[in-house]
């Protein structure tokens, strides 16, 4: 009896939430088909009853009389696809090594790395007046070599294992992104001054987004790989097949669902990303979110045009949500998400 009433409450709650989460989407969808008068004379709700739907806004958008739409679309697609592929592939490699091998990194050598890189940079840039990109490069190589060399010895202090390495990757996401986005903007500007433009360039954006997607990729792929049985790999190892070939020809195909799910999630994050694009692009490689953010100041209340732009950004994500929703139902994500 009690269960019954709880069920009814649950159903009503779900229906209310369904309305609440669906209504804004319905609204942007119908608004894209509204003629101007159906917007400017007060809210209209139902097509064919309240207003006569028109495709005019879509025609306007794609004929280009309302500014360049195709540029940002092409930029968004190419940047997000390439960066997703890179970060999922490199992230999968890193995750694989974190599952199958053991890492031992001494805290002392990690700290040395920090001290050398910060101190060395201040010294080179401040005292010797070396340009920022070169100073950073020198310091990077130097600090890496020294800390790898130090790691061989039995230094005092704790030893960090695989979980700590994973945490190091994931912790990149805990920084407020303005910290790294703004720092990256400064660095890109300096690199550009040294003759290699990265601001508002394809390469610069792909690099930034690859680093942005890597923490997710490492984190998610690690869980997927840990469910892949190790026996097949051992058999291949006996046949003396190289690790890299094992990884690409055996491990990756076996974890295809995981790769797909991870790519979807990373793609969604990159596709929707705003802050990096805002700071690092200015024209040629502006992505869709930047175009959208500009819409409301340049368009005012031309909601039909804005809705078309928003729909273009939303539709690929609807496809992704549907695919992930199906995967979730088959239980694929429930195991991996923790």
């Amino acid at each position: 009896m009690e269960n019954r009433s709880l069920r009814t409450i649950g159903l009503v709650g779900c229906l209310v939430w369904l309305f609440f989460s669906f209504f804004p989407l319905y609204w942007v969808f119908v608004t894209a088909f509204k003629p101007p008068l159906a917007v400017s004379q007060g809210a209209t709700y139902i097509p064919f009853v309240d207003f006569q739907p028109t495709l005019q806004a879509f025609r306007d958008a794609f004929s280009g009389i309302r500014g360049d739409f195709f540029g940002p679309i092409v930029a968004s697609i190419s940047i997000s696809v390439v960066a997703t592929a890179l970060s999922v592939f490199l992230g999968a490699m890193a995750a694989y090594s974190l599952v199958r091998f053991e890492f031992r990194i001494r805290l002392a050598s990690g700290l040395t790395f920090g001290v050398i890189s910060i101190g060395g940079f201040v010294l080179l840039n401040g005292a010797f007046d070396i340009d920022v990109p070169y100073a950073l490069l020198i310091v990077l190589v130097l600090a890496l070599v020294v800390s790898i060399w130090m790691n061989k010895y039995r230094l005092p202090g704790p030893v960090l294992g695989n979980n700590d390495v994973t945490f190091w990757f994931v912790s990149q996401r805990m920084f407020p992104p303005i910290v790294s986005a703004f720092a990256l903007f400064l660095l890109y500007a300096e690199v550009g001054r040294a003759g290699f433009p990265l601001l508002d360039s394809f390469l610069g954006m792909v690099l930034a987004y690859t680093a942005f997607g890597l923490p997710f990729a490492v984190w998610l792929m690690r869980d997927f790989f840990s469910t892949v049985p190790v026996e097949v790999e051992e058999a291949a190892q006996v046949d003396n097949i190289g690790r890299m070939r094992i990884f690409i020809q055996i491990v990756l195909p076996m974890s295809l669902p995981g790769l797909l799910a991870t790519s979807m999630i990373v793609l969604a994050f990159i596709w929707n990303e705003f802050l990096f694009a805002l700071l690092l692009t200015s024209g040629d490689w502006q992505t869709l979110p930047i175009l959208l953010a500009g819409q409301q100041s340049s368009r005012g209340d031309e909601w039909w045009a804005i809705s078309v732009a928003a729909l273009i950004a939303i539709i690929p994500m609807v496809v992704i949500a549907a695919i992930l929703g199906r995967m979730m139902r088959s239980g694929l994500l429930s195991g991996s998400i923790k």
Binding site: W17, S21, G126, A183, A211, L279, P289, A293, I314
Partner: protein, 295 residues
């Protein structure tokens, strides 16, 4: 055999180095540069040579009204919206777990909001909350509240931002809590049902304590992510009226790209980092206490 093991051991570096180097070059090294900039006075407009100023930038920030204002705004939005997200998300997950009618349909639709760009969500919110032409206005007029200035009155604008964040991120909580519910051992619940323990007690004595670690993690992720919010505010109110809805990230952005005060922005982003670490530590300490009480 020994040589073989070493060779295989070496290959692990080939696997991890590319990812490691990219994160190092793109995330960590700019930070080092920004850290040094934060102790300098660097202005692009008017262009002045960088000058070492010690902790001046940090002192300026901590004594500025605007910084504390934006911290307060961010904290209000984040804590209120995460509370709603958690409560609603957990309830929805419970309903879905017990297979309410049509739950397979809900699963897809419920997921959708979190995949939509926050910029889009904010644009849609601008339409929906338009003070004269939006449907919410129609509803409010219908209920007798009259035309409310949703986006230009500070308290209302913050409420709108909280509801947007709740709308977008409740699905995230639902998704994870549902995964947690599905991985709980069913025997315990069978036993509880046999002992005729009511659903209310079952929830508070079994489900909630068992999912407490997951809840702590989910809330933690949402708090951290919430503190980053800029895009929604950028589009919805631009931080206005005045600076009433300015969040920390937006403040840092405005400082850097409207005033071109690079040293200040760098310092601000590090202060921001410290704010997040402080809130995170307090939260984790409180969570550990709570978990101990249940354990």
């Amino acid at each position: 055999m020994h040589g073989d093991a070493v060779r295989h051991d070496r290959v692990k570096y080939a696997f991890i180095w590319p990812a490691f180097i990219i994160v190092l070059v793109i995330t960590i090294f700019p930070l080092i540069y920004a850290l040094t900039v934060s102790f300098q006075s660097v202005r692009l407009v008017p262009p002045l040579p960088p000058r070492f100023v010690g902790f001046d930038n940090y002192v300026d920030i901590l004594s500025s009204q605007r910084f504390w204002g934006s911290t307060w705004t961010t904290a209000t939005i984040v804590f209120a919206s995460v509370a709603f997200q958690y409560a609603l998300g957990f309830l929805l997950a419970l309903a879905l777990h017990h297979n309410v009618r049509g739950s397979s349909l809900y699963r897809v639709v419920f997921l959708l909001p979190m995949f939509i760009a926050p910029v889009c969500v904010a644009l849609i919110a601008r339409m929906v909350f338009h003070p004269y032409l939006g449907p919410v206005n129609d509803a409010m007029v219908g209920l007798g509240f009259g035309n409310l200035p949703f986006l230009t009155e500070p308290a209302l604008a913050i409420m709108v931002l909280i509801s947007i964040e709740t709308w977008q991120w409740t699905p995230f909580v639902t998704l994870l809590m549902l995964a947690g519910l599905q991985s709980m051992p069913s025997e315990v619940f069978e036993a509880a049902r046999v002992d005729d323990i009511g659903p209310w007690r079952r929830f508070w004595d079994l489900t909630f304590p068992m999912l407490l670690p997951l809840s702590v993690a989910v809330i933690f992720i949402r708090l951290i992510e919430g503190f980053k919010v800029i895009d929604t505010v950028f589009v919805l109110t631009g931080g206005g009226p005045g600076t009433a809805t300015e969040t920390l990230t937006l403040f840092a952005y405005n400082e850097g790209f409207k005033k071109f005060n690079l040293g200040m922005t760098s310092a601000l982003s590090f202060v921001f980092l410290i704010v997040v670490i402080v809130f995170g530590t307090i939260y984790l300490a409180a969570a550990r206490r709570l978990m101990k009480r249940y354990a």
